[in-house]
Point group: C2
Chain length 257, copies 2
């Protein structure tokens, strides 16, 4: 059976291949469809990327389950036993379409429910953030340091539109208290900015494919990945998630309690 | 007397020099002070850049007035007669400090009140967006096309934190109606994204140095730079400004009327 270390090497190639595909096609004609409403897009490139990734994963890890955003993976995943790959073929599809920037390919491997491998590729910069449990987090070949443990009033915070405009008063107070508020429209890019210390916190409603890779990398760097009141989260559910330094997480619990 | 075209050539060099200075110093030790409150920063590098720019402008255009953010320019500018340079030595100081990314050097020349030259340097990417009235807008040596005239529901909108959290109900409706909301923390970066069509609109409270260069470039590309209800703005005042496609500007007037 293939080792986790070998899977890691091959998975990096797969993420890069999907990134290359998105990069080459972003200036060409492709079809854009809406999903739940006019702000929720999917393109033929998302679907192509998903099939490309899933086909490759089936080859290198045939007994695994695959959970992926656009539905070409395994339909029903109800348990996390064994190997489960969680895939976002293009995270930030709106930015892919409108900006040709600020989008990512994300992938993670969970083994018996625990995050073991994580990948976020910032396609335009070509920077691949990747990690293997116990081995730290790298950007391309460079190892990342743990971000400084700053508090909320020293930290930039990213929060999504819905929470900022329509969230409860605690969320608004948190957004007001941070040293600045940012919104990039891609969980992958926002996760990258937290793990590199450019943001001190990220709060958003996340689906499994938005969360899986960032959670792996953030926890490996000693960051907190929890609900905003400090409870554990289930990667198979939609969650209101906080990714933050330990101090920001404490400061936020003070505000909501 | 030096021609506008010659001033343009030299001004580009000055902006690049200031960008280089910020780039070289951003990883070093420098002093950070707060201005009006803990979210409003100024560093010794802002001040260095301002002196560098102002000294050079005095050499190439000695009879001009200079209005600059950190106060080394002419103290009192009450009229826009003749040449007025408006300078932001580092726009997005918070990002400069916290992110080492997403900040800009901005400069503009107004002649008898009209925008004539404009410069926004995205320091990290090294892309200089510049224009001379009647000659179009360039990124480095490449001429930019006019952005597509999309409406609000097809456009990403950038709006600052204060307006998003505490603005009136019309502003919230505008933020909700756009296809997506973004917040980058630098007027310069947000202006760049509007003139390149990555955003369809930007709404913020802007001081003269936040507005001067972006206004010049946006108007040269046929974009609207007005108050949100369509009135003209005075570059010497603080303004609530909309920079947008013509269609977004119409859609927004529909919402507020």
């Amino acid at each position: 059976m293939i080792s986790i270390k070998e899977l890691d090497q091959q998975a990096q190639q797969i993420v890069r291949q999907a990134g290359q595909n998105a990069f080459e096609k972003m200036g060409e004609d492709y079809q854009v469809d809406t999903k739940t409403n006019y702000t929720d897009l999917v393109t033929t490139i998302d679907r192509e990327n998903e099939q490309l990734i899933n086909n490759q994963l089936r080859k290198i890890d045939p007994d695994s389950q695959i959970l992926s955003e656009e539905g070409f993976g395994d339909r029903q995943i109800t348990n996390m036993q064994g190997h489960v790959w969680i895939v976002d073929p293009i995270d930030g599809t709106m930015n892919f379409v409108k900006q040709h920037n600020n989008f990512a390919v994300m992938m993670a491997l969970y083994v018996d429910g625990s995050p073991v491998l994580g990948y976020i590729l910032d396609v335009i910069s070509g920077r691949l953030y990747h990690g293997r449990r116990g081995d730290g987090v790298y950007v391309n070949d460079k190892k990342l340091n743990q971000p400084a443990n700053l508090g909320l009033r020293e930290s930039l915070l990213a929060m999504n539109r819905t929470l900022t405009l329509s969230g409860n008063s605690s969320l608004k107070e948190i957004a007001q208290e941070a040293i600045g508020l940012r919104m990039y429209g891609s969980a992958g890019i926002e996760m990258i900015d937290v793990i590199t210390g450019q943001l001190g916190a990220y709060i958003s409603n996340l689906k499994p494919w938005d969360l899986a890779a960032g959670r792996m990398l953030a926890e490996e760097l000693g960051l907190v990945v929890k609900s905003i009141d400090g409870r554990s989260i289930n990667v198979l559910s939609s969650n209101l998630v906080l990714v933050a330094t330990r101090q920001v997480s404490r400061d936020i619990r003070q505000i909501i309690n």
